[in-house]
């Protein structure tokens, strides 16, 4: 294995000392609570999302255990319905997106050669909100008040009349709360990628993972408002008696579905897109070449982001809308396969033209291709209205989206865990353990979900807490349940592998894989300031390119060391031309404080303590006002004439 060392830093020892002084943090509780370091925040995102994944996974195991036999009474319907709702909601909102945002947080500044995100405090705020919103939603489960109407929460079932209690208030308020974090994170990614790239990193040298994250962030910006509005209207209908979804008073139940899926379909790509970016990031190191057709892949990413907004009605093919609109949305849903096909074949070409190094990350990428391609086939089938009407809301669709989401997101995430673990923790993982984990996860996934295609076709609807034995679905269900335990063991082995690496793994060199991007040009784990010298980028694969590497070593210039303060560089949006240095904020209590008052606000809204909510809203405004309050500076520096 290539173990190219990081270049000898071009910064002097004295400069390194000053950098450490400006960026370093001594470990303490205070430092832990106030940090704005994107690497720490990224790690927290990963761990927290991992915990929510475990909770959602255990919910699924309980469900599979219930479904192992027909007419089982292990879980009551009320329990089962909360579990399946929390499983879906948490996997989508509290695991997939935050996990990928965690990788984005850790990696984007490293990939583009910056010292932090554009808005470090906002980044910290985003994490705390994510954590609190996740706890807010999960805390309802022990009280039997968890959301219980499915992750897409169709009205009128979710109205006050049909679902009294806090269940759906937890859902709507929890998602609104979480939405703040997702929006803030997305804006942060966009601005970071636009302005903080190392000098020389013009748009055609931006790593594909960063393209994917930015495209994702743009989708969030345009898609999430629809969900937020939907949830706000649901909450108003439930709590304050408005009639948006009440057909008896001029409302319309399909309005919920339209808005939900205008968000919901882009959300599929919001989840899958960064994961596809991971695949493009992992492949070069293990095929010893860049991804074939960089421009085509970028085009595919952009095309998917745009087309994904024109396909939402394919989730409503059974609601009886006009046939003409079905023809249109069917066509759009069919066409969106093409950019995905381009990416798949670009990766295949990369593998065929490269030289494969078969390590665990590559295994997961291969597992991804096999699984995601199958999910893509069934996806195309769902684009055909007539076929969709037959298999939607059956176990066939459950099989389909688990192939897409486990294949398209979880496998790449697992690849990413193994690939970047040395960078994140500074330790190597155990290869044998990793291989066992891969085979168990791969086998478990297919044993669990493949049969669902079959019993879906055989007529078993989704979201049933039990089923009779006469239709003969029981054998297949038992197979699925056995598979789910295999999958769980495999995932447990992943955790064991990570813990083992942290405890016992041998120290990782800066560049264990011979990777092509900038994160491999600095220490494992990176210092608090990421790069002793900010690079001057000369190509798409800076770590494979002598001049880019040299710019951080012998070719270092003082204006890329920036040891005089906590600063990083701003560059131009398109060409990555150097513009100016910018001062970065240091650790602060404000993010945690602001997230706490927001938590108070949403909790007060949940329990209808409206005066408390009003006070909390004022506190939010006050905290933001203090946060952004301009520091006092002498007139000369400000440039004041009168």
């Amino acid at each position: 294995m290539s173990t190219t060392a990081a270049p000898v830093p071009g910064a002097s020892r004295e400069q390194l000392g000053r950098l450490e002084e400006h960026w370093g943090e001594r470990p303490s509780l205070r430092a832990w609570l106030t940090t704005v370091d994107h690497k720490k925040i990224g790690r927290r995102y990963l761990v927290t999302a991992g915990l929510f994944f475990a909770l959602a996974g255990l919910s699924a195991l309980a469900m599979r255990t219930q479904l192992a036999r027909p007419e089982s009474r292990l879980l009551s319907p009320q329990e089962y319905n909360q579990l399946f709702t929390m499983h879906g909601t948490a996997m989508i909102f509290l695991f997939a997106t935050p996990m990928l945002f965690g990788f984005g947080n850790f990696l984007v500044p490293l990939l583009i050669g910056a010292r932090d995100m554009a808005f470090p405090k906002l980044n910290a705020l985003g994490y705390w909100i994510f954590l609190f919103a996740g706890l807010f939603m999960w805390a309802s489960l022990p009280f039997g008040a968890a959301p219980n109407a499915g992750w897409f929460a169709y009205v009128p079932l979710t109205g006050q009349q049909h679902t009294p209690g806090l269940h759906m208030d937890v859902y709507s308020l929890g998602l609104l709360f979480l939405g703040i974090a997702t929006t803030a994170g997305s804006i942060n990614f966009i601005v970071t990628a636009l302005k903080l790239r190392a000098p020389g990193m013009s748009l055609n040298r931006v790593p594909l993972f960063v393209w994917a994250i930015v495209a994702t962030a743009f989708m969030v910006i345009f898609a999430l408002p629809a969900l937020n509005l939907d949830n706000a209207m649901l909450f108003l209908d439930r709590r304050f008696g408005t009639h948006f979804f009440d057909p008896a008073a001029g409302g319309n139940v399909l309005l919920w579905q339209h808005l939900f899926w205008i968000f919901g379909h882009p959300d599929v790509y919001i989840i899958v897109m960064p994961a596809l970016g991971i695949v493009s990031a992992v492949l070069p190191a293990f095929t010893r070449r860049g991804v074939v057709g960089y421009v085509l892949v970028v085009f595919a990413i952009v095309a998917i982001s745009i087309i994904s907004f024109g396909v939402w009605v394919h989730h409503m093919f059974a609601t009886g809308l006009p046939r003409l609109s079905y023809s249109f949305f069917s066509a759009a849903s069919t066409i969106i396969t093409i950019p995905s096909g381009i990416q798949i074949f670009a990766w295949l070409a990369t593998m065929l033209l490269g030289r494969l190094v078969v390590r665990v990350p590559l295994l997961f990428v291969i597992g991804f291709i096999v699984t995601f391609v199958l999910g893509g086939f069934t996806g195309t089938m769902f684009a055909l209205t007539a076929f969709d009407q037959q298999v939607t809301d059956s176990y066939f669709v459950v099989a389909h989206f688990h192939y897409v989401l486990i294949g398209g997101a979880v496998f790449p995430i697992l690849a990413a865990i193994y690939y970047w673990l040395p960078k994140i923790t500074g330790r190597m993982y155990h290869e044998g353990l990793g291989r066992w984990a891969f085979w168990l996860v791969f086998a478990g996934m297919h044993v669990t979900f493949f049969p669902m295609h079959l019993y879906g076709l055989f007529g078993m609807p989704r979201r049933v807490y039990t089923y009779p034995s006469e239709p003969g679905w029981d054998g297949w269900n038992l197979v699925s349940t056995i598979g789910s335990y295999l999958l769980a063991v495999g995932l447990l082995l992943v955790v064991v592998g990570v813990v083992h690496a942290i405890r016992r793994g041998r120290p990782a060199p800066p560049d264990p894989w011979g990777g092509d991007t900038l994160e491999w040009s600095t220490d494992s784990p990176p210092k608090s300031y990421n790069f002793p010298v900010l690079p001057q980028v000369h190509s798409l694969h800076p770590n494979w390119d002598e001049s880019s590497r040299e710019s951080m070593g012998a070719g270092a210039e003082a204006d890329r060391i920036l040891a005089d303060g906590r600063t990083t560089l701003l560059t131009s949006e398109l060409d990555g031309r150097r513009e100016r240095e910018v001062e970065m904020p240091g650790s602060s209590w404000q993010p945690l404080l602001l997230a706490l008052v927001m938590l108070l606000f949403f909790t007060a809204m949940l329990f209808a303590w409206y005066p408390v909510a009003a006070v909390a809203a004022v506190a939010v405004a006050g905290t933001v006002a203090t946060w952004l309050w301009p520091p006092r500076r002498p007139d000369r520096e400000l440039g004041v004439s009168a």
Binding site: I187, P225, H243, F244, L259, L570, E637, G639, S641
Partner: protein
């Protein structure tokens, strides 16, 4: 105060605030406004969706079509309120603090007038229908109320800028990012009102 002199003449002071390229704050605010605009687009889209899915009569029976006089006055108050902000921003770019203070005060007054007018509009409408009368009532109050909330947030930003500029040591020719970002938000709030005027008040007459 040699430290102050150094801070004022060091490379950081001389280079960081020269207007080279867009700042991160500018991009952040633009992206925020984009996502907010999408939210309003969804909200107004919902209005039209419910309108065209419901019966022939809109507003529904029992509710008169909205009268135009007051909303037009509100428009006449709110839309021009962007002008003093622009004038103030141009002033502070030249280092003229008095223009900043005067412009912000003017906008603040116009914004408050708008909110007062909206309150009187509500006082009138609440006799006719409320949030819970039917979907039309829900749409009317939620759309205008949500916009009113944005005006309130915008005014808080303007007031906050004014407070900071009155304190002194906040803004100048080299440091006016916050003024520019708040101005972007205020222009956005103004433009949204135009869309709401069209949707709520004009479109039922079409």
């Amino acid at each position: 105060m040699s430290g102050g002199v150094r801070a004022a003449t060091g490379t950081a002071a001389l280079t960081t605030e020269l207007p080279v390229g867009r700042s991160t704050g500018w991009w952040g605010m633009v992206m925020f406004v984009v996502t907010e605009a999408t939210l309003f687009a969804c909200l107004l889209g919902s209005y039209f969706y419910l309108r065209f899915q419901s019966g022939d009569q809109w507003p529904p029976p029992g509710i008169a079509p909205p009268t135009l006089l007051k909303p037009l006055v509100m428009t006449a108050v709110l839309l021009p309120s962007s002008l003093p902000v622009i004038w103030a921003e141009h002033g502070i770019r030249k280092g003229q603090r008095w223009r900043l203070r005067a412009g912000l005060t003017a906008t603040l007054l116009l914004g408050l007038t708008f909110l007062a007018l909206q309150a009187s509009e509500y006082a009138e409408k609440l006799h006719e229908f409320t949030l819970t009368t039917n979907a039309y009532g829900s749409l009317f109050y939620v759309i205008t109320g949500f916009h009113g909330l944005h005006v309130l947030v915008g005014l808080t930003m303007i007031g906050w800028l004014l407070a900071a500029s009155l304190r002194g040591g906040s803004f100048g020719a080299h440091r006016h990012d916050r003024v520019r970002n708040a101005a972007i938000y205020w222009h956005f709030v103004d433009l949204v009102w135009a869309a709401i005027l069209f949707t709520i008040y004009l479109s039922p007459r079409l």
